[in-house]
């Protein structure tokens, strides 16, 4: 091997260094710190190795919190995925170029609109003294809470608000896959005598399924890690893991619970990592079809 080839190869690896440094500093190091502190017990002055925090993070209120987080995220991920794919298909099969562009642009914006502003937007719209609440009450004599059972300050309410940014996110991630379904496949299927639903059942469905499942995993992770909106809307009355981590590590009430917070974060990592891997795997499978 000539030295110039060797140095060219070395140069290629050099290009990776910023990325590896980035991953190391912002991913591996924090993860390591979390795992390390999750297994530390005692006051910050004198700590020792122990499993007490990890054990209590899987008990009582914290176990309930983890269950709530998983159920809430699963429910919204599935609903958002279903709504999102229908919406995306409508856009893809529609003719309006302008509409398509407008929808995909606004989806990109809305998918990133969350946190406190979003919570207060909903409070102002459908809170107890919200504009819509008042309008319905005054003109149609309909109470959002009693007649339509829409209580913004409950788990269902939080799920409703989450859909606001999860549906656009689904539109964003599923549109390329829908666009990748080639018209020839449909024509081929039809020329072989397939009906509409048969095309979806035997051709488009199987081709889309990996990407769809991957998207559900992505939506789940997004919802699983969201917390500012839920925090503003439920004030601790909804036990979910991200909120419990916040009260453990940063608050005016609990003292010296940082390691428990790390143990709770470890729970989240354990849930999210397999889903991330699933997403990656599904992405790879899809790319085989949709190139």
């Amino acid at each position: 091997m000539s030295s110039s080839v060797r140095s060219a190869r070395a140069l290629k690896w050099l290009g990776l260094v910023p990325f590896l440094a980035y991953v190391g500093v912002f991913f591996l190091l924090p993860t390591g710190v979390i795992v390390y502190s999750a297994f530390q017990v005692g006051d910050s002055g004198s700590t020792s190795f122990g499993t007490a925090n990890v054990a209590s993070a899987l008990q009582g209120a914290y176990l309930t919190g983890l269950k709530n987080s998983v159920v809430l995220s699963l429910v919204v991920a599935i609903i958002a995925a279903a709504l999102g794919i229908v919406l995306a298909q409508a856009i893809v099969s529609g003719r309006g170029q302008l509409l398509q562009r407008a929808v995909s642009t606004s989806a990109a914006v809305l998918a990133n609109f969350g946190g406190l502003p979003l919570a207060f937007l909903f409070v102002a719209a459908i809170g107890n003294a919200g504009v819509l609440t008042k309008l319905l009450q005054d003109h149609l004599d309909i109470s959002l809470r009693d007649d339509l059972h829409l209580d913004l300050y409950s788990q269902a309410g939080v799920q409703f608000v989450y859909l606001y940014f999860l549906v656009p996110l689904m539109v964003l991630v599923i549109t390329p896959a829908l666009e990748g379904l080639r018209p020839e496949w449909r024509e081929a299927a039809e020329s072989l005598g397939a009906h509409g639903w048969q095309y979806w059942r035997y051709v488009a469905g199987p081709a889309l399924l990996p990407h769809f499942l991957g998207s559900v995993a992505l939506l789940f992770c997004t919802s699983f890690s969201s917390f500012a909106t839920a925090d503003a809307l439920t004030n601790g009355t909804l036990a979910i893991t991200p909120l419990q981590i916040e009260s453990a590590v940063s608050g005016n009430v609990l003292v010296g619970q940082e390691n428990l917070g790390a143990a709770l974060a470890l729970n989240m990592i354990v849930v999210v990592v397999p889903l991330t891997l699933l997403y990656q795997y599904m992405q790879n499978r899809t790319s085989r079809w949709l190139q």
Binding site: A129, R145, A232, G236, V249, N252, V253, L254, V255
Partner: protein, 378 residues
């Protein structure tokens, strides 16, 4: 001298390039600082004038977690800066007590580390146990009741208040004055807290006050949690984080909070048509204090001490009163006639002797809260 400084700059540049040793650049005015850093009273430094001179030389005071509309702090910081010509940095005004403790630890040795902190008493006690605070006794030390300070001077209460019910008389026909009232059907969708009781001390105290009104005690917060469970089931409890903005929008016409914070809301919402009234609940009330402590590793130790002297001076205590808080020297100042009479009048009356939970009781209450709050109030 100049050469030495130049060399320090050079060292700092190298250190800066290495990024890792952030603490290296901060050791300035070593000699002046060291005597102030160990002074436990103004007399240790040769009196107030010497303290003022040392603080002016430092020129900066780092504070954090002080919202400008909280207990009159905005004006106090401005007045302190003007009076002594010292620049006041108020870092992260929305931070919590836990954040302040973290900042002392994580910014140790840096120029921007906090010099003095204003924390809940449980964080004052835990921080003292960890050895984070420098002992110091202000000039008015004797006026602070023994139960409101650490005997060694590592922390001392600065102001407090009572749990109260704030209410917008423009939206609510009859404002509630007792905790028991809150369950009435007329208050449907109107009762709120200013935070999550697992994170916000004032919200925790609101739950605890409800416990006292429902057969609980300083040792037993559970009846309060059950009461909020009932409030939520009845649809009266709005679990949105109440702020002046949610008051203005009409979302939270009733808030249980410290009387001085509720009184602050009265001021900020007056222009928007809200008629905010504040009543210390008559069936039960809890009192609570915040505490001051000087960081042991304060980058500006003299300024930190001067800030304490200022806060506990008649002027500083009247300033807290102006922010509707009850300063810790209030009883002593009432005796000596140093209280601004116009200010003392705006505080809501407190009828009964309020309960002051001890730190052990608080630890127990927090434990109960963590386990049962979210499962009961849902």
């Amino acid at each position: 001298m100049r050469i030495a400084t130049a060399r320090n700059v050079g060292i700092c540049l190298v250190a800066g390039a290495l990024v890792l040793s952030m603490g290296a650049c901060t050791k300035k005015s070593e000699t002046a600082a060291s005597s102030a850093a160990t002074a436990t009273s103004a007399a240790d430094l040769g009196g107030m004038d010497a303290l003022i001179a040392a603080a002016k030389k430092e020129g900066t005071l780092n504070l954090m977690a002080l919202p400008r509309d909280w207990a009159g702090y905005g004006e106090l910081m401005d007045n302190f800066a003007a009076k002594y010509g010292i620049k006041v940095n108020d870092d992260n005004p929305g931070a919590s007590s836990a954040d302040e403790i973290n900042a002392i630890k994580s910014l140790k040795g840096q120029d921007r580390a906090p010099d003095a902190v204003d924390v809940g008493t449980s964080f004052a006690i835990s921080g003292a146990k960890e050895g984070l605070y420098a002992p110091y006794k202000v000039t008015g030390w004797a006026d602070i009741p023994d139960s409101q300070k650490a005997s060694d001077g590592t922390w001392f209460a600065d102001y407090g208040g009572y749990m109260s019910i704030g209410c917008d008389a423009a939206k609510v026909q009859v404002c509630p004055t007792t905790i028991a009232d809150l369950l009435e059907p007329q208050y449907k969708g109107q009762v709120a807290l200013s935070g999550d009781p697992l994170k916000s001390n004032s919200a925790l105290m609101a739950v605890w006050t409800s416990a006292l009104a429902n057969g609980g005690s300083a040792d037993n917060i559970q009846p309060g949690i059950d009461f909020f469970g009932k409030l939520k089931a009845a649809g009266n409890f709005v679990p949105v984080k109440a702020t002046a903005a949610t008051v203005q929008s009409g979302e939270t016409p009733i808030i249980i909070d410290w009387d001085y914070l509720n009184a602050g809301i009265a001021q900020t919402t007056a222009n928007s048509g809200a008629k905010w009234t504040v009543a210390v609940s008559t069936d039960a009330s809890i009192g609570g204090y915040y505490a001051q402590a000087i960081s042991k590793t304060a980058p500006h130790p003299a300024a930190a001490r001067l800030w304490q002297e200022y806060l506990y001076s008649d002027e500083g205590q009247n300033g807290l009163l102006k922010g509707f808080a009850r300063p810790v020297r209030l009883p002593a100042m009432q005796k000596s006639g140093k209280v601004d009479p116009a200010l003392a009048k705006v505080l809501p009356a407190a009828s009964d002797k309020p309960v002051y939970p001890t730190d052990d009781q608080a630890a127990k209450a927090k434990d109960t809260m963590t386990q049962t709050w979210a499962n009961t109030v849902k």
